[in-house]
């Protein structure tokens, strides 16, 4: 599958109606709504389904653990699985991924261990996985900053003639930041192999999209950079995957960056410490729950006879196993070494830090002695 020719050759406005391959009842669509994209093969969709189900189970589990106080915070992606999983599934293990705090489930799909993903949210250390090994950057908190890293890394790879692609996620709110603009622009000017996914979940914490942008679609922004932009139904994993795959292919072939907007909805609060009743109606949430991305694909797969009870059971088991592994991991409280605080700041050792480290070491030793004395 390849992107429409027009998008290569000239500037075209993204369609106002989002690109969609499956409607909410799980029926395959034809005609202009598909934007010329083809429905992925059933086995591909089944695999996406599997990943989404597992991802959601994980997400629900972590939210529960967070409520139990096991984690300091957790930004849920419940309801955004079509974006989260559909797009990250379009890149290979050799490609680099630049996620945000919201995108833990995409990391899971990328093969990272729950224990490693959640280290930062549990509060052990700011980042808990080997970025280079997984070709997955730390989940960025300062909004839109990671998009520039994705562009820079893509450019470096291009200079090295490595045929990799970088993929970065950002939120609707993050598109307002200067860094988003600079990332889009650098990518377009340098023609880097970068795919930007804007997950338009319609809220930035409490701030609705209408206070964030006056554009018809967020994909419209692509026009101003001379790059193709796609406005896609973000609850249709078939469409998300198809558009992302085309964008990734194009990037890998030297065709430059693409901006994809997935129109979706944040079902859960922003994080566990948020109170969405202050700024939105339960009705709206209910409306979007009825457009659940997993159910939509499920209906299609069932109608195609691809999702048998057997497969469903197998997926369910895998999901439960993962949830159990996640619980176990979060019930462990690894011993952290406070002295490690000093060990990674610089590669070149510093006397002042060594002094401070020694001071803390003495303090800890004194504390231990005190405890021993008290214990006796």
């Amino acid at each position: 599958m390849s992107l429409n020719v027009e998008h290569h050759e000239s500037r075209v406005l993204p369609s106002e109606k989002p690109v969609r391959l499956l409607d909410n009842a799980g029926h395959a669509l034809r005609g202009p709504e598909t934007g010329g994209f083809e429905l992925p093969a059933t086995e591909t969709l089944l695999e996406l389904y599997r990943r989404m189900v597992i991802a959601r189970r994980f997400d629900v589990q972590v939210t529960a653990l967070t409520k139990q106080g096991r984690l300091a915070t957790y930004p849920s992606a419940y309801g955004q699985e079509a974006c989260e999983i559909g797009v990250v599934s379009a890149i290979t293990a050799d490609d680099w991924f630049f996620p945000t705090y919201r995108d833990s489930i995409a990391l899971l799909t990328r093969g990272l261990e729950p224990a490693d993903i959640l280290q930062s949210f549990r509060g052990d250390w700011h980042n808990g996985y080997d970025q280079r090994a997984h070709r997955t950057a730390a989940q960025a908190t300062p909004l839109a900053t990671q998009a520039l890293h994705a562009v820079g890394l893509a450019h470096a790879a291009r200079l090295r003639h490595d045929p990799i692609v970088t993929l970065t996620y950002l939120g609707d709110g993050a598109t307002s930041e200067g860094d988003a603009h600079e990332a889009f622009n650098f990518a377009a000017v340098w023609q880097t192999p970068t795919v930007f996914l804007v997950q338009n979940n319609q809220f930035a914490i409490s701030t609705p999209l209408s206070r964030q942008s006056h554009a018809t679609t967020l994909a419209d922004k692509a026009v101003g950079y001379g790059m193709p932009g796609y406005h896609v139904d973000g609850n249709d994993v078939a469409a998300m995957y198809a558009v992302a795959t085309a964008a990734v292919d194009r990037a890998r072939a030297g065709g430059g960056p693409t901006l994809i907007e997935g129109l979706t909805y944040r079902i859960e609060p922003h994080t566990n410490s948020d109170d969405p009743t202050r700024y939105r109606q339960g009705r709206e949430v209910e409306h979007w729950k009825r457009r659940d991305p997993i159910e939509r694909l499920e209906k299609y797969l069932v109608s195609e006879g691809a999702l048998t009870d057997e497969v469903r059971a197998e997926i369910g088991e895998a999901a439960e196993a993962l949830a159990a592994r996640t619980r176990e991991a979060m019930n462990e409280q690894p011993e952290l070494d406070p002295l490690e605080l000093f060990d990674h700041v610089y590669s070149t050792p510093r006397t002042a830090l060594a002094e401070q480290r020694a001071a803390l070491e003495a303090e800890l030793a004194a504390h231990r002695t005190e405890e021993e004395v008290t214990a006796r």
Binding site: T141, R278, L353, E363
Partner: protein, 342 residues
Amino acid sequence: MSRTATERAADAAAAAAQPMTMAGALNAALRDAMEADDRVVVYGEDVGPLGGVFRVTDGLQSRFGDERVWDSPLAESGIIGTAVGMAMYGMRPVVEMQFDAFSYPAFEQIVSHVAKMRNRTKGRLELPMVIRIPCAGAIGGVEHHSDSSEAYWAATPGLTVVMPSNPADAYSMLREAIDSDDPVVFMEPKSRYWSKASLELPVRTEPMNRAKVVREGTDVTLIGYGPTVRTALDAASAAEAEGLSVEVVDLRSLSPFDDETVSASVRKTSRAAVIHEAAQFGGYGAEVAARLTERNFFHLAAPILRITGYDIPYPSPKLEEHYLPTPDRVLDALASWEWDLA
């Protein structure tokens, strides 16, 4: 027994006084400032219906409408840059940066414009604006949520930088900051948001550019601001048990620095330590130590100590306890001096 007018007034005050958190006091200050002056507007990320992630702007939008209080797009440079324009037109914007680290995208607007506009225009254009920054750590925040940015602002000529440590000051200083014709970086220690005091509004404490001796003592001066005033007071109480008389100064204003009050205390005690959460190297404590030493060198019995965070990025939640300057660490530092206690 007949009651005096003073007694009656005191009673009325006590009746009007109400327990209030620092977040509540700040909220009240915003409300009262907005009532008093319709040029005051409040905007930033999530300050509208949500009332800010710390609820400091709670209820303001429903009270004043969305032309006085509104959610801006998510862009800090945009927030500060537009506030500059609004202040140029005579408004008095009070804007919020959600956390210290998220003020960094606005650094250019703050340093190159907010701080410089008045001087650039020979005083013809003033920028009466307040930049509220929930600051510092000790709240178990994940990365980027516990930075201490005060050294950056304090090092920038043209800015006024203040940080209250308690609800009464929070109210009074925020009112004063909003009334000021100079732009004010108003830093709110997150870990003190839920600290309580009984307040009778509108409470007015000392002018915001003055430091305050919050505990008298004779042996040593502990200098704190924002969250570390509590630390200093706790350390002082503990030290008292060991026979040490500790004076505690709450700086309140970081820029300007109240040389008069702080030097007087240091001259009295001849020993001092400054306490802050930020890293030590290049931190605000360096200025405190340097200027107090310059001005009081021959009155000092020992160098001014800095009891601070380490020279490392702010740690993850599970490790922050080892980073923060605790009362224990303050006591240890005091113990490092030789005392000849009676």
